[in-house]
Each structure stands twice: as C-alpha cells, then as structure tokens.
Symmetry: C2
Subunit: 422 residues, 2 copies
C-alpha cells in the first residue's frame, strides 16, 4: 500500500483562517490530517508542501470527453446548423481507435485543469473505460441510449452491458444514460428508470436544455420534460440531470421534491445561446446543484474552474452579490458533483475520504495577497496555479507535468487533421 | 536599436487558414512580416517560434491597478457594505510606497496573463507611472477627479499635472479621469471636458454602472448619466466610458452618435451584481466596444482573456450563437481597447505597428486540435497557454518567467498583511 505524507500544506478555511497541516495518504484514502506533525511511516514518500494549499480536486458532472477532437471545428452558429452540418458528419467518422486518442487528449486537459472525475455520455464506452484506467482518473461512464440512432439489438446490448457491470472497477462505475426526452421515447425512458432503480445505477441525462426541447415535448407529450421524466419514473434521487436551463415553477417544485441533482453547464449554455441556467432560483428552491463542462465542442474546454467562477458570477447577477459565495461555488464543482454520482466519500480534504486533491501554488501572483485563499482560488486563480494533482492516492500531475503529454497531443492533432480532411 | 526575428511563427487567420511567417521587430515596431523567410540582420536575436502562434497582446481598457492588494479582502456582499466597511477603510491606509508594491503585483499579473497596456484610474499617479516605466509595459494613467474626496487645491494640481504632461513618455500617456457623475459635479465635468478637448487628452470615466447611479442622477439632474455627460460636453469620441451596463434606448443612441467607446467589464458587473452589460444591443446599435477587467477587488483578477471569453458568451446568450464571433471578441480585448486610448497603431500583428504580442504554445492541450486557432485561443485557452510576452519590442515575459517575480510576490504579501492587521 503506497503511503505519501504531504508535509506542511496549507489547508484553507472558509473563514479565511487557514491551518498548516501534514496529510497522510495511505492507499487511496486520506488517513490522517493533523496540525502537530505526523510521524512519517517507514517507506512513505514525503512531499514538502510548504508553498502549497491543498484544495479538493474537481468532479466534472457532465461531459462528452471524446468530443475533444471537435474543439473549434465549428463555432458561432445556430445549434441546428452546428449539429447537422458539422458535428454529426464529423462524429460519424470516429472509430474506436479515434475515441481512445480523443479521450487521452480530454483526460490530459482535465488533469491539467485539476479534474479527477468526469461523468461521460458518449459512444464506444469500452474505449473510454480503457483510457480512464490507463490515465489514473475516475469516471462514471454513461451507457448511452439514443433510440433514434440505435437498433433494438444495440439497446439490448446496453442493458446487458450494464447488468454485467462490464468494466467497473475501483475508479470506474457505469451510469444509465438515456440521452434526452427528444431522443428516447417514453417507454424506453420508463424501462431505463426501472432498470436503474432495480440494479442500483445512477441515471445521467440531458434535461430542459433549450426552449425548442420544451416546445417539442409539450407538443408530443402534453407536458414539460421534467413532468415527462416524472411520468416515466425517472425523476428520482438517483438522477443527475445536465443543463436544467428552462424550469417553470412547477418543474422546479417537482425536481426539488424528487431529490435529483441539477448538473449545470453555464459555459455551454451561454455559448450555444440556450439560456442562462436559473442558479439563484435553483438554490432558493433548495435544489441539489452540481457543475459540469459539457464537451469541448461547445465550451470549448473542460476546465471546471471556469465553470465554477461563471456559476458564482451568474448566481450573483441573478440574486444579488451575496448569492453563491466562493465556498459554496467550490462545493458545486467538487463534493456536490461527486455525490451526484454516488461518490459519498469524495470531494473534501477529510480523514477517510478518497485521496483526490490539488496542490495549488501559494506563490502564484493570483493567489496573493492571501486575505482569503478560498476567494482567491474561486475568483482569481486559473489552471496555471495548479502545481500537482492527486487522484486515488497517486500523483497524476506533478509540477505541471503529466506523463505522455507530448505523444497524446501529437496523436490527437494528427487524428483530428485526418478526420477533418476526409 | 534592438532587432529580433521571430522565426517560423504561426500567424492565425480568421478563416482558420494560418500562415507560417518570420517577423522582424526593429526597435519598438514590427518592421517586416513575410512567409518566404526574412534575411536576419547582423546582430539581431533570432527566436525559434516553430511551436508558437503569434497573437496580439491584450489592452486592458479599465482597471484600478493598485487595488491588487485588496484581492479577496471582501467578497460576496452588497456594494455599499463592501465599499464602506472594507474597501474604503483599507484604501485609506495605502501610502505611496504601498501603491508601488501594489502596482508591481498588478503588472506581474497582467504580464503573466498577456496584457501589455492598461487604462488606470486611481491615486498616487506618479507612483503608478514609475512602476510602469520600471516593468516595461504601457499605460494610460488617469489623473483622477473625485470632487467629494478632494480639496480645491488637489483639483487644481490635477489640471497642472495634466497641462505639463507630467511623466508622459514612449509608453505612458495621461488621461483626464473624472471618476463618475456621482462623485464629480456638473461644473467640474464640464471643465474636465473642455480641458481635455483643448489639450487633446482622452477622457476616462465610469458610466451607468448601477441602477442606483441612474436613479440618483435622475433625482439630482433630471436626466440619465449619459445625458448628463452630453450636457457637460463630455460625450464625445475622446471618451472611454467604463461599464455602460444600464443604457436606455435614448442613452444608446446618444452614446453611439457621439463616437465614444464603451469599455465593458462583465466579470466585475456580474460579481458585484450590477447587471449584465448589453453587449448585443451595443453591437447592434453600432457602438465602439472595448474590454477591461476593473480592479482585482471586484473581479478578482486582471485577466483579459477571461473578460474576452465572458463577453463572447454573454453576447451569444443575448443575441444568438452567431453574435460576437471569436475574432470580434479578440478585437474587443486588443485593437478596440488600444484605439479607445489613442493607440492607433497597436493591437494587431502588422507591419509598422507597435511590437506588442504574445507567443502562444501550440502544443498546449487547449490549443489542440488546431481546426481554428482563433477559436481555440478565445474559447479554450487560458493564461497557461501563453509562453512569452513582448511589449514595445522587448520581452517582458519569456518561457513564463518575469524578472523579479519572487520579490514582487513576497513584498505584496507582506504589505497586504501589514495593512490588513492595522
């Protein structure tokens, strides 16, 4: 069992009172955190953290990792044109091998911006799982249902894959991922919901992202997407619903009562002109709120720090300057996202919790002066402040270096160039 | 005269077609840009730029640099409490020596995030000018008028300082900076406007930032802040007006007709809950629009890249996904801000223009794949992608290193700690 002592690290307090602590990591857990100094176990690696603050790593509650190859392929155009003329034709060419290359680029990007977990919704889940195992991070890999694009055999294959818990491991779990109310019919939504409840899976879907989705749902089903999920038995505490941009008061009440989590993606919603997520209303209504980045093609990065700051800023302009203070925005991007996917002992620097964390450089100009480290981290920092990233008790980035980064970038560039040319 | 050849640099095209060029810098200008290779003059320094894209550096159209020491000192509270209980008492303690320390931290932060110019509005202008000269960047230093806080002698001193063009140089100019319609009376606004026109100065002010400002102005003067500036003769093409959050249609028309520039600060406006700047309306009305960060105490950083991306995103959610495409957002943060302060030959990589630019790492994961470098730069990148910064023909950052950075950070931290304790 690996042992690491993070020596003399600054543990930021919400009130601006920070503690200097030693943190003992044993295996994949924080086993001891103490101010008085920890006796170093024989064989443990000691890391001098006197110039660093420890923050929880980020948990990305909604993305499409393999869309990294589409970053910048099409921007600044209406959604339908973007999808039909650019995104879908490009995606149609992606092979399993391409997906692996795309995932490596995405995970490199996640690690360098401090993310150790992502909830994914895409195709070729085995390839995604393989690269997650390879690169040392965590994932809730969605097994994606999009009825319009799948054969009945593929749908059965999905359920079999899930029932066998294929590819699940210490760092990987599966989620039932019906894409949305506009790509999955009511009967299959119901089957997914029943299956997930019986087999104890989390459910990950898109919900109320655009006004068009609401209008189409009203026309087809005579109700809102939220009420349709409720009808299908999917609106439950095991649901992580991405976007949640357009909620009526009735939707809001039903959603909050269900205990589902809203996974907001403000960068993507603004960039695609879908709307501004109602963060202040969600918070006032008592909703569980987490954050995600959506894919690289609509953000155009996987930087949870950007998402966290933008969420805090939008909440304030909606509800006043006191809304969503820095420490609550940080929770949205860390512990709230972890919990939405069943990681109940992750997202905080706490004894017994999973050893996922960031070492943030206290001598970066954005972290100075140090009146309030949580404020500096949320409002002033960017990825350049992150020195190292630990996931599951192991360094996945150290001194801003990630193993294999040059090859990952070279392969991704070559692959994307080939796909764009053909 | 110093000569630098930037060899084999990628010059991104707006259409995704990039050119690989050599760039000759002679003195403080780009003197030649050519694809075929430039003959290296004897004694010139040759820099291999084969892994880098050249982008224009950022020009920050509105900030209060010395407020860097207040970063994170007070957040997440209403404006009046923030100002009266935290910001003003802290500021009252700042000496000239503290201002120098604060400016060094601010300029370090600017340089590391790619900014080479800022338009400032604060006190102790001589100290600010001194540190600008020291650190190699550019500034339009506002000579600040805030009638409520100044003696008649201080006001006369301001005009004398301006009339003598005190401290102006190749990289420093002065601007007439009446703080706002709520801190400067109509007579002094008029005197500032007349003086600026006669002496050919730019005018830099806060305008229509909050609804309270509008209500108070209406009560006191019977008109909007925009109409009050017009009445005082200040609404003119030499005006750079920060914020511009609340414009009626009548304000909009008067503002656009005047040829003034709106310098938007969306991060600050959202964080202080002042409102969302009407970017789409300004653009549709044909306004000149530039960007600024406001001070570190309300943003909480000086990162123009964040401002650029946020402006693009807000514009889209206001006006549709086609609004403010990447290359136009980039212009707002570069050439438009430069022009607002009279730098007519800056903000573009162009022969004869001032040699200000960034070397952006093409092998950073956020810049890959390279379908469209302008899109990657605006939507996906952050400061970690910037390798080097050139201002006025000289490197002010190289390989992410800025001379003296450790001492700047140590002094700033010590100074802020002392001020907060007393």
């Amino acid at each position: 069992m690996g042992q690491i002592v993070l020596k003399s690290a600054t543990l930021p307090g919400l009130d601006g009172n920070n503690r200097v602590v030693d943190v003992l990591i044993e295996g994949n857990r924080f086993s001891r955190i103490a101010e008085s100094g920890i006796e170093v176990p024989a064989g443990a690696e000691v890391v001098d953290c006197s110039g660093f603050a420890i923050f929880p790593a980020f948990y990305n509650g909604h993305t499409h990792a393999a869309m990294s190859l589409l970053r910048g392929y099409a921007d600044d155009m209406p959604l339908q044109k973007w999808l039909q003329e650019y995104i879908w034709p490009f995606e149609a060419k992606l092979t399993g091998a391409d997906i692996e290359i795309a995932c490596r680029l995405a995970f490199l990007e996640m690690i360098k911006s401090g993310t150790v977990f992502f909830a994914d919704m895409y195709w070729h889940r085995e390839r995604t799982i393989k690269v997650v195992e390879e690169m040392g991070i965590r994932a809730a890999v969605g097994v994606t249902f999009a009825e319009l694009l799948m054969t009945p055999e593929q749908i059965e294959d999905n359920f079999n894959f899930l029932a066998a818990h294929t590819g699940e491991s210490e760092r990987v779990c599966l989620a039932v991922a019906p894409h949305s109310v506009y790509t999955v019919g009511e009967a299959l939504l119901k089957r997914c919901a029943d299956f997930a409840r019986a087999e104890k899976f989390l459910v990950h879907t898109h919900l109320s992202e655009t006004l068009k989705e609401l209008e189409d749902c009203e026309r087809q089903y005579g109700c809102s997407p939220v009420r349709l999920l409720e009808r299908a038995g999917m609106l439950d505490s095991n649901l992580a619903a991405a976007h949640c941009v357009h909620f009526s008061d009735d939707d809001m009440k039903a959603f909050v009562d269900s205990g589902a989590t809203a996974v907001l993606n403000p960068n993507s919603n603004l960039k695609l002109a879908s709307g501004i997520p109602p963060i202040d209303r969600l918070l006032r209504a008592g909703a569980k709120v987490a954050l995600g980045t959506d894919g690289d093609s609509s953000n155009n990065n996987l930087d949870m720090h950007e998402e966290m700051k933008l969420a805090a800023l939008l909440a304030k302009v909606q509800g006043g300057a006191e809304t969503l203070p820095a420490h609550d925005a940080l929770k949205m991007a860390t512990v709230n996202s972890a919990r939405a996917y069943g990681l109940l002992d992750a997202g905080e620097i706490r004894e017994g919790f999973l050893a996922d964390c960031l070492l943030v450089n206290l001598n970066n100009e954005r972290m100075v002066p140090r009146h309030n480290l949580v404020s500096n981290w949320v409002y002033a920092a960017d990825s350049s402040c992150i020195d190292s990233v630990i996931c599951n008790g192991k360094f996945v980035m150290r001194g801003r270096h990630v193993d294999g980064d040059e090859e990952i970038i070279r392969e991704a560039e070559a692959c994307a160039k080939r796909l764009a040319a053909n």
